[in-house]
Amino acid sequence: MTTMHLISDIRNKDIAQEPIRAGFGRGLVLAGQQNEHVVAACADLTDSTKMGDFAKAFPERFVEIGIGEQNLVTIGAGLAAGGKIPFVSSYAAFSPGRNWEQIRTTICLNDRPVKIIGSHAGVSVGPDGATHQMLEDLALMRALPNMVVIAPCDSVEAEKATLAMAADRRPNYMRLAREKTPIVTTEKTPFEIGKAYVFHEGTDVTIIATGTMTYQAMVAADMLKKDGITAEVVHVPTIKPLDTNTILKSVEKTGAVITAEEAQVNGGLGGAIAELLSEELPTPLIRIGMRDQFGESGEPSELVEHFGLTATHIAMAAHQFAETLPKK
């Protein structure tokens, strides 16, 4: 689609890839250059959460917290109270995994614009295993009043999202992934907090995807084309607040929905879409994601296959609709 300015050949074997977190690192340095009030704090994972460049560029605006995630977000709340725009990062399993109540009270209820960065989310973290594969962060953050929840699909979008977060006055959570992810967006691709984007037009089924699964959804749409099924891919980088207009408009057209995320479907994107549809537009729904289960050690490619988080699995769900739903 031309208006989205996506890369043209997503099936190219040589597609450029980069960890989504790398885009955050670049965006943070840019945000720091644009606004002297942007500051950062990290809980002993500065390089792997890609805060290292900011810390080098602005050492006086970087706070090393050590291994203490409760302290990380409450120091963040204090920095925000002092007029700063703090980005606080760790692995998602620990922040917001360990410090949920502090986020609830001192950031959301207290209404402070702290920017929580949860890196290494999803089973694609790989060999570190279930303890480090955060799957419940979307549910945890989505349940909080005032919180904005963002999961970019690639590093280019993550950079834009970081700049948008620095300008946003609300508490924000952004989920990042460890592994390299194919880059599907370009500098010109639009990004705005709270907006969903139709990345691929179709009429037979709507695939609603976020984070690392958006690329898989686009590959699935390409696979389905050959089978005579035209899928519409709606990329949802902001899970809360949800862009209900864009989503409902697509679902009205297709009458069948698949959600795809590398997180628990309960309370995650799948939960959000199920809530929306059951209230506004009851529609057959298949949710791809983790289903009330933990991950385990393995290579990322093995794990996404094992847990059914690939383009093939999305395409299979679309075929299931094609076989079971009455023809329009």
Binding site: V39, E60, N71, T74, I75, G76, G78, G82, L109, D111
Partner: protein
């Protein structure tokens, strides 16, 4: 805005604040009596001597900051703020009622003059540290940050994470005050989860410790002033207080940690406070 009051006047203010605490807790029908009463001198000293603040301009950009980490004792803060003129005293009787700005635990977004939302324990020291760091980055270290902590609250791990960080960054533009009243909900602090050697613990974390009688307003003022003069290390004041201070049947009794007085108890408490335990005659007997 700064006030000039004699020590005698401040003691009387603390006594007035205690009476307001009793009235508001009785009207609310729930709330924390002991810690609120015990900190009357600490809050009187902060609001009427130590802190730069303006009740008519709560967001004044030059104000000192007071974080109340032990948010369950917010009645003492509300009563002190009303005494200072932040809002009319009648509003104190709306405590914990639907639609009130005076929430059961303090909410910043509801009442101008509160700096944080607190109640869930253990989060205030790190927020104070965050503000102190921001002030340092902005070269505003003349704006002082105060934080009050409960002693039972020191069971929380978040406190010690913050204690390490303040020690590491030597945040000397911050003063912490512990309300050391030796009680928490389940009983005496040293039974529930021993805190001693409390001084030694803070010193080991890189702090300078002052220990005072927290129910002596002059000692509180002196300690806060001394804390500002100590520049090598962050300062924490262990303020030894009497829980339920000023009301005979509440003093030292941990059962009053989380309970309000009923009407009869409030009457007795108010009379005791009004007459300074019978030392003076009250017209309203």
């Amino acid at each position: 805005m700064r006030y000039i009051y004699s020590i005698d006047e401040l003691e009387l203010k603390a006594n007035d604040i205690r009476q307001d605490i009793i009235r508001m807790l009785e009207a609310a029908g729930s709330g924390h009596s002991a810690g609120s009463l015990g900190q009357a001198e600490i809050f009187t000293a902060l609001y009427f001597n130590i802190m730069k603040h303006d009740p008519h301009n709560p967001d004044w950009s030059e104000r000192d900051i007071l974080i109340q980490s032990n948010g369950h004792t917010v009645p003492v803060r509300y009563a002190t703020m009303a005494e200072a003129g932040y809002f009319p005293k009648e509003e104190l009787l709306t405590l914990r009622k639907l639609g009130s700005r005076l929430q059961g635990h303090p909410e910043r977004t509801k009442l101008p003059g509160l700096e944080t939302t607190s109640g869930p324990l253990g989060c205030g020291l790190s927020q104070a540290a965050g503000i102190a760091l921001a002030h340092r980055m902005d070269k505003l270290t003349h704006r002082w940050v105060y934080v009050t902590l409960g002693d039972g609250e020191l069971n929380e791990g978040n406190i010690w994470e913050a204690a390490m960080l303040v020690g590491k960054y030597k945040l000397t533009n911050l003063t912490a005050i512990i309300d050391r009243n030796n009680i928490q909900i389940d009983g005496p602090t040293e039974v529930v989860m021993p805190l001693e050697d409390l001084r030694g613990k803070w010193e080991a974390f890189g702090w300078h410790v002052l220990e005072i009688d927290g129910n002596d307003v002059e000692s509180v003022i002196d300690a806060c002033n001394m804390a500002k003069a100590i520049v090598e290390k962050p300062v924490i004041i262990i303020a030894h207080t009497i829980p339920g201070k000023g009301v005979d049947f509440m003093e030292y009794d941990f059962h009053w940690h989380g309970a309000p007085p009923n009407h009869e108890q409030a009457k007795i408490a108010l009379k005791e406070l009004r007459t300074l335990r019978g030392k003076i005659k009250s017209e309203a007997d």
